[in-house]
Amino acid sequence: MFALRGIAVSLTFFVLLYSLLSALVVVAWRSLKLVHAAEKSLAGLLFALRVLPLAASVVITFAFVVPSFQLLEPRSIDEGMGAMPLSLGVCALLLIACGCFRVITAQTKTSRVVARWLEGAHPLDVDANTQTVTFRSRCEAPPLTLVGVRKPRVLVSESTVALLSHDELHIALKHELAHMQSRDNLKKLVFRFCPFPGMAKLESAWSQTAELAADDAAVSKLDDAVDLAAALVKLSRLVPVEAAPVCTVGFVTGSISARVARLLAWDEAGKAQPMRIRPWYAIPSVLVALLCVFVTYGPTLALTHEVTEWLVR
């Protein structure tokens, strides 16, 4: 009974915190538009914001709620469980089950569709640096797409090879490889795991920013930018009607006209200007937070226990 109560309390705390943080993110993420930073950094920030509710809820639950219950809850008292923690615990389990189901469905669907696209495909190129195989697939497949999470592959359709010049194909492949290096398919799968109403716009903004970041990563001079814009326009005419599965990143995604305009206005001096927000910028803040937690761990556990007691009653 003690263990069951502990699980119910932890799940209740988790689901409440997750919902509260998610609601805050839904309201607050638009302020990130004011940040003037490189697209790659912006995409990273949007992703961090999208997964923050899940990550923070899991960390706080395991770092505070579970230990506070284990250490401070008297085992001898046979306390009953109220309807509130029980129902919220069930909600949390449903949320986790829903997340798992969405991930498994997305993976299965992607595998099925990719297997169909790969029928009769043959390797076009092997990139030793990125350990990626580029496949030349039949015309029904999307023109150019990165598929898979664990073993990402780039698929290039027959028509794409016929339509693009050597330089255009090269730069378009570099764009897809940039998506691969950012693990964008894995990020999409993570989004599937933590559903919350109202997050679609944030995900769409991330997707658009990730496209621009991949454009930036692929282009290193104005010729590249023009080649990428030309490839984008040409392949836009080939986009199939079939919707792409989750674990894929197509080349022709987002606002084509905005991307083309941005590429044509590309200048080498301008590329260095926007601020890059690197992950290690956060290290001092994380260290300070850890130090604070270390110093105040005892009182925080007591406070957490009081909060959970209040929740249970």
């Binding site: 104005l222 010729d223 023009v226 814009a229 326009v233 040409k234 836009s236 084509i256 083309v260 305009a261």
Partner: protein, 152 residues
Amino acid sequence: MTKAFSIFGSSSRPQLGPFEQQLLQELWSHGSATVRELLADGRISQAYTTVMTTVDRLYKKGLLDRVAEGRAFRYTPRHTPEELQRVTALENIRQLLGSGDASSLPLSYLVEALSVHDAQLLDELQLLVERKRRELQSRKNKARESNGREQH
């Protein structure tokens, strides 16, 4: 409000007569007004009763709200111009989709229209890319020529 729209009317405005449109514009610029206030600045030359009948028609079409003010009414537009445009477009599309026996047929018109629009947009983008490429090429040629001259 639905009755004010027609797929055969203007694409961005509900089917309204010229005078109705003029009154709606006036009300948007005033924010809200009585018939007397609309006539006061002299931009409307019609008779008081004509204006009163027309704003009443706009009210019945669901485009205006009104509150009693003394013996008259104060009229306020129910939508901003942008909202009205959006609602009109949505209503037109809804009417179009509901107009045929075969439900997929109107949708195919829409897809066709969008495809034509997309194709035009892509043509324009293609032109921009080609122009930029020519510009780059001529810049390179000039640089090559000036290098050649320096070497000579």
